[in-house]
Symmetry: C2
Amino acid sequence: MSFRYALQKYIDHPENHEEVLFYDDNVTIIKDLFPKSLRHYLVLPRNKQVSRQHPQEVFNRDYDDFTGQQLYNQLQNYCEKAKDMIIEDLIKVLNICNDDIEKIADLKNFIQVGFHTIPSLSNLHIHVITKDFNSPKMKHKKHYNSFTTSFFINYKDLNPKPTNNHLDDSQKTEYSDDDNDSQNTDYSTNNNNSQTCSPDTSLNPENIIKNSRLICTYCSKDFQFKFKNLKTHLQLEFVTKFKRFNVDLNKLTPNQS
Amino acid sequence: MSFRYALQKYIDHPENHEEVLFYDDNVTIIKDLFPKSLRHYLVLPRNKQVSRQHPQEVFNRDYDDFTGQQLYNQLQNYCEKAKDMIIEDLIKVLNICNDDIEKIADLKNFIQVGFHTIPSLSNLHIHVITKDFNSPKMKHKKHYNSFTTSFFINYKDLNPKPTNNHLDDSQKTEYSDDDNDSQNTDYSTNNNNSQTCSPDTSLNPENIIKNSRLICTYCSKDFQFKFKNLKTHLQLEFVTKFKRFNVDLNKLTPNQS
DNA sequence: TATTCCGATAGTGAC
DNA sequence: GTCACTATCGGAATGAG
């Protein structure tokens, strides 16, 4: 078995692995073993047919026992569950009051959910990850850009049912809001395709993560291709964001409670 | 004083420095502090006017007290002296009999003399160096290619008096040999400009040492741009060449007797 | 874009 | 192309019998 099936074991035998946070017949939810942020979980559909799909097509076909739309809705619930698990964990770690709605809402907005355009691991997996990107395992430009450019596909953008997701304000209509959940979540990323590249290469997803400059997700500062500088800066942004909590920042370790 | 005048001290105060092997009013001869071969000496003209010349022009003008041709002839003698010093040193180190003409002739052919097209150090300096290029200080491609491509200007090719140096066999005539010394020396290098590059960049000396592939000077094997592989190979070639001498090869240390 | 190892490539600073 | 330091960029292997 090649490295491309490194996630298979969590699908086949979720009960055997420490890093499994939850499983049922439909999904396994694990801590990413190489977390790129303070919290970085993966939702793994266990259905064999689904697990071998590519992100861009998984919801645009039907399966033996369910439609693409049904699958989308089902997995969306598991993604919400993964988000909730992150929130619950952070509430504990950060000593947040359960009724501090503002802080909790802020944390929810600090989580993004979606796929990589070209995953290296073959088993379909959904990233549920906080947006600090402050982690020792965040080691190079492609790591960062895989979450902060259009290489990252937000889960919401894959809903096979047409919505107003892709319409700008002038095109929005009142009836378009029917099926969207009304949570105050923000899955958006810095999909800065507008950088000057030759047109052919900019369309290639591999080149997007290779050639996109490093833009801070907090403040949009451009670090060109100086990854170390970005790392230092992200650590500062992290401290700025989390120092208001009653906790030793050194104990905010990626995927560790 | 910037690093570009690192050699100035040997010109101003040759008596103060351990690495000075010889000096008189005209030149200082030193061991290169970062030898790129088993033996790597530098001949430094001490005349202020001469010291600030560029290699390509130094012999094509006249000076207050001598002509370019006179300077060329004078420095040629000092280069021969530096070569002789290397030979004498190696005869000792390698336990060679003084009457072993063959081995000594072979060593002479194993030394090259000349300039870098674009020296980084401003004081004019002539490299007198064995052609093994087997040294811990040989650290990257530019080091190697600066001695083995047309970036290296053989001293003989700078004689301002027209000779047959640049004529091919069909153009050679009997009168053209008048002023050349008749020693059995070979200053030639692998000036492989014929590698496929775009014409504009291949003419740029900086691009020659950057873009020329790494070719073994012993066997012409092409190592592309794999410098580490070349290093390993040069060490093997070195052992092959010197194992016939009665000496522990580990003691053949660059510029150390 | 899974990681890790190794090495090639590139920029800087040096007083 | 001086050196030495740091960092970025780039390829290859990775399994299992």
